[in-house]
């Protein structure tokens, strides 16, 4: 679609209120459309080749699990994040998403081949299950680097967490199920959906021990009650301290984390392998180095890897891949190399962003491409996302004692928890610090209507933003439940702010008002 100053790229016309997918693919000019198409084929090849060995289980899973069908929409998920993008940005986004999806596809394969529900009589599946530790989803599994003979899988990740990102309609059934069970509807829908998935028996049975967590919020802690009861496995709870900015709490944090190591050693009769663990630590450090490079570039007037491509990638890399997948760092190296080229290109041509924003509080799972919409519609570049500002300190690569302290700090600062816990400083003061660091004067302040943690600071955010002259654009959402606040309602908040406060004209007026309630 060629750019027209009156209608912009006309991207809003790609959507239809009665269709799950877009009406057609976007024409991005010959070169970029060909690249985009090549990437589409590459993604299909990745999914096909990874899942082919478990095709029978995949077919059974489509019948057995409600969430499985959502993954058929994966190509559309990537398309949503690349609509409107050109040149380097298009390439970064594809590369970042590819890194995430290759890891996720492998995780799905590993779940399918282990699942007792799908392979009830398989000895191979039973043997795999006997070597598998399942983890609560809101937690990195870095400790598994020290158990190379075992497999760690985040149990709720595929059925709930990722499914809701790929398909906005995926989690509703589970949310309804748990509310019908008696849970109040005001709690965060993520742990609610996870508990709902237990209630309707929609988890695969894939492990021999369970590690729960006390991760970002009360809901995440409380949902452990349901998981434990459902899985009926030997259980250990990793519960790092809340006030983790205090150096004094680290001793307890290490003991608690080491307790998980001892638990796994006991359950599986294996020893923690320090050499394998340090190899994982090196991978983590390499990935972190690349992450910091991306942030550094985004602090300049010529930001490169922005929006969900930056945020989702880091979240998955740290929390899910957890330095267990060597391909992540390799793909990072390629992306960062290209990023340097892109930076030089933009600098030479002085291509600066019209508006610079950061995202704060937790974003809507069902609208992870929201930041791309803001870029396409208003020219607002999202430089960083609170969710990806999780653990980014380096771990010691040699000292056993120190690396455990470092890893405990990493667990304390995982997704969301790094800002929702540890006191208001991590949420409030940190936000203004990041505005300064990234030279942004707009904050997309996600107002997750069920998140009591950030809601508890709402007035202080408002007061302090006003004092600092920062544009705080409150964007309501309900994390996993688009029925409470639709994607359109989220966009309307920004549209209203941009037209009334900034008196801005949209770059693409067709994106101001369109219907995507049914879109995956």
């Amino acid at each position: 679609m060629a750019y027209d100053p009156k209608t912009g790229k006309g991207l809003g016309r790609l959507y239809s209120g009665d269709m799950h997918c877009t009406k057609r693919r976007e024409w991005k000019g010959l070169k970029d459309t060909l690249y985009d198409y090549f990437r589409w084929l590459k993604l299909l090849w990745l999914l096909g080749s990874t899942l082919a060995p478990v095709l029978p289980q995949l077919m059974k899973a489509l019948k057995r699990y409600r969430w499985m069908a959502s993954y058929l929409t994966t190509p559309a998920f990537v398309d949503r994040h690349t609509i409107g993008l050109r040149g380097y940005e298009l390439r970064y986004t594809h590369m970042q998403f590819y890194a995430v999806l290759q890891n996720s596809a492998r995780m799905i394969k590993e779940m399918l081949e282990r699942d007792e529900n799908l392979n009830p009589k398989s000895k191979k599946a039973a043997a795999l299950r006997a070597k598998t530790v399942i983890f609560d989803e809101m937690m990195p599994i870095q400790i598994m680097n020290g158990f190379p003979t075992l497999k760690g899988i985040l149990i709720q990740m595929v059925p709930v967490f990722m499914a809701g990102e790929v398909d906005q309609l995926a989690n509703m059934y589970y949310i309804d199920a748990i509310e019908h069970f008696g849970l109040a509807p005001d709690v965060c829908p993520l742990p609610a959906a996870e508990a709902g998935c237990c209630v309707v028996d929609d988890y695969p049975r894939i492990g021999a021990a369970y590690i729960g967590s006390s991760m970002p919020c009360d809901g995440s802690v409380a949902t452990n009650m349901y998981s434990q009861r459902y899985f009926k496995l030997p259980t250990y709870t990793i519960a790092p301290p809340q006030r983790f900015n205090e150096p004094e709490v680290q001793e307890y944090a290490v003991k608690n984390l080491w307790g998980a190591v001892e638990f796994i050693e006991k359950q599986f009769n294996v020893k923690f392998d320090w050499d394998a663990f340090f190899a994982g630590v090196k991978r983590y450090n390499t990935e972190t180095k690349y992450m910091l490079e991306k942030w550094d570039v985004n602090c300049t007037p010529y930001p490169q890897i922005c929006g969900a491509a930056l945020a989702l990638h880091r979240e998955y890399e740290m929390q899910i891949a957890s330095a267990l997948d060597p391909r992540m760092a390799k793909l990072d190296a390629k992306t960062c190399k290209l990023m340097q080229k892109g930076y030089e290109h933009d600098k030479k041509k002085d291509l600066q962003a019209k508006y610079r924003a950061i995202v704060w509080s937790c974003p809507a799972h069902y609208y992870s491409n929201f930041t791309y919409w803001a870029e396409n519609c208003w020219g607002i570049k999202t430089l960083v996302d609170m969710e990806c500002m999780l653990s980014h300190h380096f771990y010691d690569e040699h000292d056993k004692k120190q690396v455990l302290v470092d890893m405990a700090r990493g667990y304390e600062r995982m997704t969301m928890r790094s800002h929702s816990n540890g006191g208001y400083i991590n949420a409030l003061d940190e936000c203004w610090k990041m505005c300064e660091k990234f030279n942004a004067n707009i904050v997309f302040m996600y107002n997750h209507v069920s998140c009591k943690n950030f809601a508890g600071l709402q007035g202080l955010f408002e007061d302090q933003a006003r004092e600092r002259g920062i544009h705080l654009i409150w964007v309501e959402h309900d994390l996993m439940d688009p029925r409470t606040v639709s994607r359109k309602a989220m966009r309307d908040r920004v549209n209203r702010y941009m037209t009334t406060v900034f008196r801005a004209e949209p770059l693409d007026p067709t994106l101001m008002d369109y219907d995507d309630e049914l879109t995956w």
Partner: protein, 407 residues
């Protein structure tokens, strides 16, 4: 029944946070330490000249300011405290011993701190946010000992010259234990077939022990216990069923009153601000420092929902069932204050487990902070009472039929 002699006096003490006895203790040189949660060991706030005041916001009406700061989707109790703080209702406090246990309470404390609700003239005032672990093992004990020492005891000593020695802790435990013994003994009268104390009266007494300097109420508690020994119950039972009340924070006696007016006598109080846990004696030995023992006792005793280790989850369920048996209750009411995430999860799950696995009739409700006017709540309790009565009638009928078949 004839009114308890001191009930009216105790009721009056609960009408404001800075009540008559708090003022008296302050005038006598006492140091008032505010706190909100069981995870802050209460006994450690009663050392030397200190006395603990568990915060409430009685007679709460509008919470507009707090809603601006904390939104309308957060726990009403946390908001009510912030509102009261912003109104200047906690300026009498000399320190605030908060805990980072649940999101809303933590944010409420942080808002209070940032919005300067403390009296600026109190130079020794300090805020604390205790990190409370989700485990109850020895590592967790050591962690809490460090936290309490650094964040509470040390500032009390340095800012106010409070004696925080082992001897002082043991003395405070002795005084605490006396209150616990009295409350426990008074509570025993709820086990009678026709109890000589109502749930409402008991809650008033228990609440008073949380919000008043203990040395100023102990005499009246002793007299109340004596009074109960000879108190005559109503000749005709004024309740239709007995229930155990389990759940989140309740500091509103009107809620208990509402339940009892609907026909259900509350015979056991297993909720935050109730007596179980919270009013059980702490047994100290000489072989170990008192602080560690106190902390261990609290960690082991807690029935807080944020503890999700399997043994703790099981303990909560077993305790509820045991209370039902010990206090001869016909059912359990699981309640949660609105917007309490932890108790929402526990309530939903436990109410199913209790009914399905323990075979104890269970009512599951959520409620506002001040529930005195809730007609809906009243209707639900009445319906529950009726269902309990029907169950009793059916059971009696079945027993009769069984007996006649046997003959």
């Amino acid at each position: 029944m004839k009114d308890l002699k001191h009930l009216y006096y105790f009721e009056n003490l609960l009408t404001e946070a800075n009540n008559e006895l708090v003022r008296q203790a302050k005038a006598e040189g006492g140091i008032a330490v505010g706190y909100t949660c069981f995870h802050m060991p209460e006994v450690l706030l009663n050392l030397d000249r200190c006395f603990s005041v568990r915060l409430r916001a009685p007679r709460t009406g509008s919470m507009e300011m707090a809603t601006y700061y904390m939104s309308n989707s957060t726990c009403e109790y946390a908001r009510a405290l912030l509102e009261r703080g912003l109104e200047g209702g906690y300026r009498f406090l000399d320190a605030m011993a908060g805990v980072d246990v649940c999101e809303c309470m933590n944010r409420s404390m942080e808002n209070m701190e940032l919005l300067d609700v403390a009296d600026p003239d109190k130079k020794g005032f300090f805020w604390c946010n205790l990190d409370s672990p989700c485990h109850d093992n020895e590592d967790a004990v050591a962690h809490v000992v460090e936290q309490v020492t650094r964040k509470v005891l040390k500032p009390l000593h340095e800012n106010y010259g409070v004696d925080i020695s082992d001897a002082a802790i043991r003395k405070a435990v002795d005084e605490h234990n006396e209150i616990c013994r009295l409350i426990t003994q008074i509570g025993e009268y709820r086990k009678l077939d026709n109890p000589t104390i109502t749930g409402y009266e008991f809650h008033i007494l228990t609440l008073a022990t949380y919000v008043c300097p203990k040395y100023l109420i102990v005499d009246k508690l002793r007299q109340t216990l004596e009074e109960l020994k000879t108190r005559e119950p109503d000749s005709k039972k004024r309740f239709r069923a007995k229930v155990v009340l389990v759940g989140s924070e309740i500091d509103d006696p009107e809620l208990i009153s509402l339940i009892e007016d609907s026909g259900a006598l509350v015979v056991a109080d297993r909720f935050c601000y109730g007596s179980i846990p919270g009013r059980q004696e702490i047994r100290l030995t000489d072989g170990e420092d008192a602080l560690t023992q106190v902390v261990r006792d609290y960690l082991h005793a807690t029935l807080c929902v944020r503890h999700v280790e399997p043994h703790k989850i099981q303990k909560r369920l077993d305790t509820a069932a045991q209370l039902c048996q010990d206090f001869h209750a016909d059912g359990i009411i699981y309640e949660q204050i609105k917007f309490c995430t932890y108790w929402s999860y526990e309530r939903a799950l436990a109410s199913h487990i209790m009914a399905d696995e323990y075979h104890i009739p269970t009512l599951s409700i959520d409620r506002p902070y001040m529930s005195r006017t809730s007609g809906q709540l009243r209707t639900r309790v009445q319906a529950f009472v009726e269902s309990l009565e029907i169950k009793k009638i059916r059971a009696a009928k079945a027993q009769k039929e069984e007996a006649s078949h046997g003959v």
